[in-house]
């Protein structure tokens, strides 16, 4: 029990003394996961929307693929990305293994199916006749998609939170493709693993608490936006 209290105390100490390394790691974690989430939103929402709104042969298969992708183990993604980015791997010439770019790629791959799946569900639960009504109001196809996305904005925001939550807390892939290099590819989760293995449990708990605090703050903002128009 004291070890947890130690951890809490350490967390506040690190934060309020603006410990350079911890703040650096935190800021870097947010940047990497934020960028990865942003990329995943771009691919995920567009694919999810297209699949939700169109009929095409093999659609059921694609939907089940997307849903399976949501359960993709991050560490498996990390393994495959590493194999591709190895010097002797197919993309080795790009020389991005053990760089922040590799982490962003791996995290984007992890987040995209999550965002896609939830976006797909979000768009599918819109009433089918709504599309007709929007067309009847004289909308172009593009205008229709924009209006539908706006109508589904609440669950779509949930997709953003799910995608971000999935990668800010991820450690397996991040360690593999990033290498946990001090000051370069070290994030809160990988640093936590390292401190734990060193036996510095109080620091490990502190880092975990810091991660939770920042993740909470971000989700607070997103939830505010999502829940803002719920009068009654």
């Amino acid at each position: 029990m004291d070890i947890i209290l130690d951890g809490i105390r350490k967390a506040f100490h690190l934060l309020f003394t603006f410990d350079a390394e911890v703040l650096g790691i935190t800021w870097f974690s947010l940047k990497v996961s934020g960028t990865a989430t942003f990329i995943s939103l771009f691919f995920g929402m567009s694919v999810g929307t297209v699949v939700a709104l169109t009929q095409f042969p093999g659609r059921k298969f694609v939907v089940s693929l997307i849903n399976t992708g949501m359960a993709l183990p991050p560490v498996v993604v990390g393994l495959f990305v590493t194999i591709f980015l190895w010097r002797n791997g197919p993309l080795g010439f790009m020389e991005i293994l053990y760089t922040p770019a590799a982490m962003i790629i791996a995290q984007a791959i992890i987040a995209t199916p999550i965002v896609t799946g939830i976006s797909l569900a979000a768009m599918q639960q819109l009433p089918k006749k709504l599309r007709l009504q929007i067309l009847a109001l004289g909308a172009t196809r593009l205008q229709m998609v924009r209006i539908l996305v706006r109508e589904a904005r609440l669950p779509l925001l949930a997709a953003v939170m799910a995608g971000f939550g999935g990668v800010i807390s991820e450690v397996g892939a991040s360690i593999m493709v990033g290498g946990n290099i001090k000051g370069y590819t070290r994030v809160l989760t990988t640093a936590t693993v390292m401190e734990t293995s060193r036996g510095n449990f109080d620091i490990a708990i502190a880092l975990g608490i810091i991660l939770l605090i920042f993740a909470y703050m971000i989700n607070l903002v997103l939830t505010q936006i999502q829940q803002r128009e719920r009068p009654r």
Binding site: G24, F28, R87, N88, E95, I96, T196, R198, G199
Partner: protein, 282 residues
């Protein structure tokens, strides 16, 4: 403070160059494969920045299990190794994977245990004797069980002692790193084999005593090995060589000699560049 500001500068540079790909030319990056216990000692946190500043390289320290570090070198995915697994290293060299295997430093392992010392091993000179007594008394021994360098050393000692330990009730394995294993051993008041560095770093919270030390078999010897560019053309050969040279240079050896003294009262490592392995120890 200097270290801290160096770190801050490093982070700033990293932030600026974070996305998407390193703008610096290929040769600036060196991939150093080493073990978690080496990283955990904190020695590299001191040495790497000195090297980087001096030679202008960017060192990517990938700290993994000993087995994985050697495997990375064997596949040409690292430029230089800093490891401490005698048998595995010899095989590595025999397979033609490395060149210029040079002695850098050593630290030692110690057998630690509860102050009560139920097996009565305190002061025994030979580690294998101590292990025999632990087995004989059925006192619990906590092994790392993770194929790390420490684990390999532990197995060597059991072999020297001629004792069966696999599957015995008193033999437990954590599968964890050194720090965690020490914490578990302290919690359960068991014996364990640890490297002096990690033990000293955690000593004040543990409540475990040093019971056996100084036996030659307990030496943990570090070599730096450059990955063979002839076998793996993509390695950064000049970078790997620069780092290896740095590790055995006088200035570095001096840093190693005093590392840890201020904090723990005794050094964590003993510099050995240029010596022969047989001459080590007392």
């Amino acid at each position: 403070m200097a270290v801290l500001s160096l770190m801050a500068a490093g982070i700033f540079m990293a932030a600026v160059s974070a996305i998407p790909v390193d703008a610096a030319p290929v040769q600036k990056n060196i991939i150093l494969a080493t073990t978690t216990s080496t990283q955990d000692s904190g020695l590299l946190d001191v040495l790497i920045p000195v090297f980087e500043k001096k030679r202008g390289y960017f060192v990517k320290t990938i700290a993994v299990g000993s087995g994985q570090a050697m495997a990375m070198g064997a596949k040409g995915e690292a430029d230089v190794l800093l490891v401490h697994s005698e048998a595995a290293e010899k095989k590595f060299m025999a397979d033609g994977n490395g060149v210029n295997r040079r002695l850098v430093m050593h630290n030692d392992y110690i057998i630690v245990g509860p102050p009560g010392d139920p097996a009565g091993i305190k002061g025994i000179k030979k580690a294998s004797e101590a292990f025999k007594k632990i087995a004989a008394t059925g006192s619990i021994f906590m092994s790392r069980g993770d194929n790390s360098g420490t684990h390999a050393k532990e197995k060597d000692i059991w072999k020297a002692a001629g004792v069966k330990y696999e599957g015995e009730k008193w033999y437990q394995q954590t599968g964890l790193g050194m720090g965690q294993t020490l914490a578990v051993a302290a919690e359960k008041k068991t014996y364990t084999l640890a490297d002096r560095g990690t033990y000293l770093a955690l000593k004040k919270n543990l409540g475990l005593d040093i019971l056996v030390e100084g036996d030659a078999i307990l030496l943990n010897v570090y070599h730096v090995i450059e990955v063979n560019p002839k076998k793996w053309p993509k390695v950064n050969a000049p970078g790997g060589k620069a780092f290896a040279d740095f590790m055995v240079s006088k200035g570095t050896q001096d840093i190693i000699k005093t590392f840890g003294v201020e904090k723990f009262g005794s050094p964590l490592f003993f510099p050995d560049a240029g010596k022969k392995v047989e001459d080590l120890g007392k």
